[in-house]
Symmetry: D2
Subunit: 284 residues, 4 copies
């Protein structure tokens, strides 16, 4: 079975679904799933179609060409994804092991459809975990002086490994604006706080001092503005006066890993479409 996932977005107008699905139907592509959404303020239309190409009556290139003609007519944008081409993911870590473990375990069990050619860290202490799962670990230390150089080495590594997605699994370094811009929509970070509250460092300490009754975690795409990128997923857990900062950290760990892994899974399954600063997360 050969599968295709389409992402289409355009100004809202009549007949979008009918016209796209008719092309697929006319040429033997079977729609397995279709989800769409209209953003009400700016009247933008977004659609994800999952089709089976096994009985396609024309070549894939010919299908693409016909779809592209409609796209042009509709002032739309289209992206083609073939699920059998698994994305390649680089995981960035520092000292916290929980989100890394979760990604590797879910990858091992087949829940995350991707390849993980490398783990990159500015510290050495998670090297052993990478070894447990037989994944190459790249230790690239950083000092204020070597930061630019380290980023250059990261770029070389990502290019060599043909990385599609960068996952910052509690990576405690800030990437340069140029770097972030070049990988726009392809870097997912987990923030250990309920954004937009508690941006920046030490969110659990800040949460404790503010006396909140819930703590959270937020997975988002990274942009040049720290902790301001489009949110993919969030979750919270209740805390009370008995929780010390350390206990909040422990309670938060389960949320962080779950939220990050879930966001990465949505990206790998091509279920996310960016709508400016917001994300559209389709279900399947």
């Amino acid at each position: 079975m050969r599968h295709l996932i389409l992402h289409i977005n355009c100004p809202d107008q009549r007949g979008i679904i009918a016209q796209f699905t008719s092309i697929l139907y006319d040429h033997g592509a079977n729609v397995l799933n279709l989800e769409q959404h209209v953003e009400p303020d700016e009247k933008l239309f977004f659609m994800r179609i999952h089709a089976n190409l096994s009985s396609l009556t024309i070549s894939e290139d010919a299908l693409k060409e016909i779809l592209q003609a409609l796209v042009n007519k509709m002032d739309a944008q289209i992206h083609f994804y073939f699920p059998e081409n698994k994305l390649k993911v680089a995981i960035f870590v520092t000292r916290e092991s929980a989100p890394l473990y979760d990604l590797l375990i879910k990858h091992q069990s087949g829940e995350l459809p991707c390849e993980i050619p490398c783990i990159i860290s500015n510290h050495e202490n998670l090297k052993e975990i990478a070894g447990q799962f037989n994944i190459p670990f790249h230790y690239l230390s950083i000092t204020p002086e070597t930061k630019a150089q380290q980023e250059k080495e990261i770029r070389e590594l990502l290019e060599k490994e043909k990385i599609d997605l960068l996952v910052l699994a509690r990576y405690m370094q800030i990437l340069s604006s140029e770097f972030v811009e070049d990988y726009r929509g392809r870097i997912i970070n987990i923030h250990h706080g309920f954004l937009p509250a508690f941006k920046g460092n030490n969110p659990y300490r800040k949460a404790w001092e503010r006396g909140v009754k819930m703590i959270g975690a937020t997975a988002h795409y990274v942009t040049a503005d720290l902790d301001e990128g489009p949110i993919i997923e969030q979750d919270v857990v209740s805390v009370n006066h008995q929780h010390s900062v350390k206990e909040m950290v422990q309670a938060g760990r389960d949320i962080e890993r779950r939220v990050l892994t879930s966001a990465v899974k949505a990206h790998l399954e091509h279920r996310i479409i960016l709508d400016g600063r917001r994300t559209i997360i389709f279900h399947s």
Copy 2:
């Protein structure tokens, strides 16, 4: 603006979306929202389409006829709903006021798109609440001897008021199998337990005795099998050893009303399709 909601279900086959949306597009009906689902075991296809008919180029009857021809070809079933025709709801209660209040408040604020021509009860003690919201209250007492007679009076009332949906908001009487069968898919009940656990009477007492750490509520369509009908919505709340049965009842009340109102809302907005013993709940 004239709106139409379609429910279509049929054996899964190629081109369903393309063919239905093309008919709508060709005749000026604008699809505002489309959701579909394929049940994987029996390969059944379900779809809900919300269309705007303001620019329809043929009559509504003509559109229906064309759609019906396709339905026949595809061995499908179709239902037409016009949201401007608000459903008529009868609320059944006994002594518990919380779910009744919630339905009436949400109706008053415009969140529940329906008319409520009557409240029916086998006790008199919620009469005053009906009065607060200016809704006729029908007290129909029940004894083992009068049960059949009372059900007959209920039927007459429902027919007179042209009731579309019966909501059992903690109505503590069991309706006869014949009655339930005649209103199949049109009676929603709230059970104050997390089905399929704790069926029948006193679910909170049973939950306390079993020492569960969460209690729940379940909104479901009523069938002749007690508490076995298709589930629409469920929710839970955490409890602990400090909760007495009475405190569980209090904690459960907020869940019961929220779950019931939400299930009723989904029905009124024509977002539910029955799939045997399961429900498909579309989002909008």
Copy 3:
């Protein structure tokens, strides 16, 4: 049965529980429930004791005197509450009806142990709801010119009715710093956002624009700093790209009312002790 609830707080030291409970035991007061907490940073001790005085062998005044002597020795503070003296609550509203309804319904059903001698509003549109529950409604309009005068009238009303607790149930006016200071620890507000995110106006619009995946509500004591007072309770509900601002408002309503009523209940049952900017919420 005559009941007493004690709140005791002091610098942490040895033997606090033993000495206080021994006094109660020695004079026939039966401890029904005891909860304590030590704040770890500043080593402060907090305790709530619920005792039954039915078999007290000395007068209540004598007991108080003996306890006061220990309090002085320990550099502590003590508060005495008698649950049979129900607190008097004034509810402040503007246009939003959901939190008001919830307070009145829970009060009517006996879940909120208080009296509600008045509802105060700067608009007239919730007057009818007050009437449904037979509670005097005071309409005190506000213009920039009359704000000081209106606050004076509020004070007179609160004093006349001997109000113990002010509940701001979506009251859309900011009280003066002097007023807030005079009622410190006795004004509870519901904020329709997950503090400390989305302070101030239009939190749902801000949440929509930021693209958050959960929206929340926060009940807190009011201080002169807007939305910065000690948090009592918070909760959230999941939202997604399909939620318009209006749908977020609807989804948030259920959370707001639940969080506010629960916070008010905790205050009325004397289960809250303030610890600077944080709250200690005991369970029973």
Copy 4:
């Protein structure tokens, strides 16, 4: 610092807290935390005291003797736990890796205060994970003929390693009634369903067929009645019509591991007291 945790339970009566805490205070034991609970139906009193013995003015044995005298007078039961003596845990597994990983990761990070001298399985496929964490893995295969023999080997192993707690982390074998009886209150199981619903095999398949909107997991002490032992912790996650059985299994995994690890943690920290078929879970 030398710490002591006391569990005391007895018929409810006056002065329990005062008398026990006075003994501790009089002999230099500093109460760090005290929690109590009265079961309202049978009037049973339960208390957990966490004390620091660093400044004890008598020997520990002398303290125990004095406490024991009071225990006898009050018709009570007392248990003494010294947190520095970490419990020894045996983990039982079959094929499912997620709960095992979670226990080992949390143990490695110091969140689970215990030793894990062995992992026992009736299959070999999780052997490698045990190796990753350097924990001896015992493969004891089972056939209907060897079941009794295998249980004998398990007993020998548990005795040799002086095991205090058995954790069944998706161990798909039923232990004999004699075995379970001998380890009463010392075997924790994770059931991948929301008990008391969906007992026995294939709870996710049953949940799918019933069309529930939430699936859950339950950690409980094992008794001779399958899935009927005292519940320690439960949690749920929402599902909908789009979830296949396989996706329910995946969604449930995160809940299972979290619930099991949390229940084990509560046991290891001596925060659980059994009250017949119910559990009392103290907070700290």
